[in-house]
């Protein structure tokens, strides 16, 4: 199997997995899910890091890679933290209401 076919299989299976995983989410969680999924899409950090690693210390590539890393990490760090902030508000009353019932 060539690298390309393999990558295409990975693409196909990843898409199918995504469709299955996200099919059944209660509406309450749609906003946190969107924000969480958005944070995951910041996984482009891997591409940015690869670019820096393969730059052979060429300055323009290092700068571009670093910029790209900054944008991606802004997405990742901000995304996960803001999702956590939202979800913390849901979970902090779950034990309390569970107790009163």
């Amino acid at each position: 199997m060539s690298a390309l076919t393999q990558a295409l299989w990975v693409l196909l299976l990843g898409s199918l997995l995504g469709l299955e995983l996200i099919g059944k989410v209660p509406p309450t969680l749609h906003t946190p899910l969107m924000s969480g999924a958005n944070a995951i899409s910041g996984i482009t950090v891997l591409a940015s890091l690869t670019l820096i690693a393969q730059a052979n210390d060429q300055l323009p590539l290092l700068v571009l890679g670093s910029l790209s890393l900054g944008f991606a990490l802004f997405n990742v760090v901000g995304g996960f933290l803001v999702t956590d902030r939202m979800l913390a508000m849901f979970s902090r009353k779950s034990p309390r209401t569970g107790g009163t019932r």
């Binding site: 469709l19 509406p27 906003t31 969107m34 995951i40 899409s41 700068v63 890393l69 979970s91 209401t97």
Partner: protein, 475 residues
């Protein structure tokens, strides 16, 4: 040697597994928070695996540190500072930055072709997709954010058919750039592609009305996944391809859910222009449209609440804008102490994004089980004494069920017109987000309480306290 090759592969597999478990866990309230942490851990693992596979030179580490410092700190600050009401804009901003990252990686590879050997067709196609989708995601997300923040208006020309001509020419320019790119990787075609894609992102987002913006953000979220997957092809990372594909698929599902809730097809959202955004539809834009309006004071409303057994609040985005969630929570506690059964009716698209209102009410400590979804609460309205609509409009419009000429016709709505008495708290009789007249306001059982949601709620609290409501139980 085999062991050394195996370790990064195992780390990658572990990261994919955690990522999938994370996304799955995000679909249940009880596990959502830990699932989010799991996904973040997966991201960390993936980075670790990559650093083992591709060691960095000292100079490279310096630039990694710069990028990490800037992006990480800004992300940290933004995530902590941003108010919950601004969540849709924030997601749009983060999302746009993810697109920009993919765009920059593709640019780097195209301009300086790191690694060895000439680039093959697959790499060229991946670069084209990465640039195209990345640029559209970035510029589109920024426009979406600007529109939600009220920084950008909907220009008149975007509501005419001229926008189709503009966007088609831009798309043709993108295509031309893409076709010419393999011949000249670092030259004019690349820049044509970058500029035309960015403009196309603006051109397709600008005409879309504010009410449809969540759909656009969700779709752009899906695109940023596609952009990440394309970047995965560019740098040859299967992990990136999997994660990008998962997020792309997730965004599509969520977009579809939102369209269904708003009774809009994706095609009409993307190409139909703003729904009554620029020009009033059917003469309903301004106050002139209403003839039989009853208005009442906070005192009358308080009397009705005091006598009620069952009260349902219908919160909308107006409530959040007025920062009145906490006053609402206080009012409902007072009523509960008085023995009134209080619930909240949450429309699937209440707020600016599906689930946004749940987040806002959770912030004000409203117990989770008092939030009723549309299908649960609709059969309850006939036995509800008082409904108070706070800053919601289109989602309670009975025309959506009865008037086949209404632009809202067919959209699932909260059937508050079934309740015995309805109070609508609103600043003026201006049209709702979709720019459509609301038949609810003219029904005999409806009374308007004019004023800012927070001021009205505080007025109600004062009135109820002066009546002695809630004192006995509290003492």
């Amino acid at each position: 040697m085999a062991g050394l090759d195996l370790l990064p592969a195992l780390i990658d597999l572990g990261a994919v597994l955690l990522l999938a478990l994370g996304i799955k866990g995000l679909s249940k309230v009880s596990t959502a928070r830990s699932a989010n942490g799991l996904a973040a851990l997966a991201m960390g693992l993936a980075v670790l695996g990559l650093l083992i596979q591709q060691p960095l030179s000292p100079q490279a580490w310096l630039w990694v540190a710069i990028g990490t410092g800037l992006g990480g700190v800004l992300g940290l600050i933004t995530a902590q500072r941003v108010p919950m009401t601004a969540m849709p804009e924030t997601v749009a901003l983060f999302n746009g930055c993810g697109g920009m990252a993919s765009l920059l990686v593709a640019l780097g590879v195209a301009l300086f072709s790191p690694g060895e050997g000439s680039s093959g067709l697959v790499e060229q196609i991946s670069i084209v997709i990465s640039v195209f989708v990345g640029a559209i995601t970035f510029s589109g997300s920024i426009v979406a954010m600007g529109k939600l923040q009220g920084w950008i208006d909907t220009p008149g020309w975007t509501q005419s058919t001229m926008r189709h001509a503009v966007n088609i020419s831009l798309a043709v320019a993108c295509l031309a750039g893409a076709i010419a790119l393999p011949g000249d990787m670092a030259g004019a075609p690349l820049w044509v592609l970058v500029v035309a894609s960015s403009l196309l992102g603006i051109g397709v987002t600008l005409p879309i009305g504010g009410a449809d913006m969540p759909v656009v953000i969700s779709l752009l979220n899906s695109y940023s996944g596609v952009a990440a997957a394309a970047a995965g092809f560019v740098v040859g990372s299967q992990l990136l391809i999997v994660a990008g594909a998962m997020v792309g698929a997730a965004g599509l599902i969520l977009t579809q859910v939102m369209c269904t809730a708003m009774n809009r097809s994706l095609v009409s959202v993307l190409f139909g222009g703003a729904l009554g955004g620029a020009a009033p539809v059917g003469g309903g834009g301004e106050e002139a449209g209403y003839t039989r309006i009853t208005s009442c004071s906070a005192e009358e409303c308080a009397l009705a609440l005091e006598a009620a057994e069952r009260v349902v609040f219908v919160p909308g985005y107006g409530l959040a804008v007025a920062q009145a969630q906490h006053a609402l929570r206080e009012l409902s506690k007072l009523l509960e102490n008085h023995g009134v059964e209080v619930t909240y009716a949450i429309h699937p698209v209440a707020g600016r994004m599906p689930g946004h209102m749940n987040v806002l009410l959770a912030e004000a400590d409203v117990p989770y089980e008092q939030l009723l979804e549309m299908d649960t609460v609709n059969p309850e309205f006939p036995r509800t004494d008082v409904v108070i609509v706070l800053g919601a409009n289109d989602v309670v419009n009975p025309d959506a069920k009865t008037d086949s000429t209404s632009p809202l016709y067919g959209m699932p709505v909260l059937e508050v017109d079934q309740a015995r008495q309805v109070f609508v708290v609103k600043r003026s009789l201006g049209a709702g987000y979709a720019g459509i007249k609301n038949a609810l306001f003219e029904l005999p059982q409806t009374a308007m309480v004019f004023g800012d949601a927070k001021a009205v709620l505080n007025g109600l609290l004062t009135e109820l306290r002066s009546m002695g409501v809630g004192k006995k139980v509290a003492a």
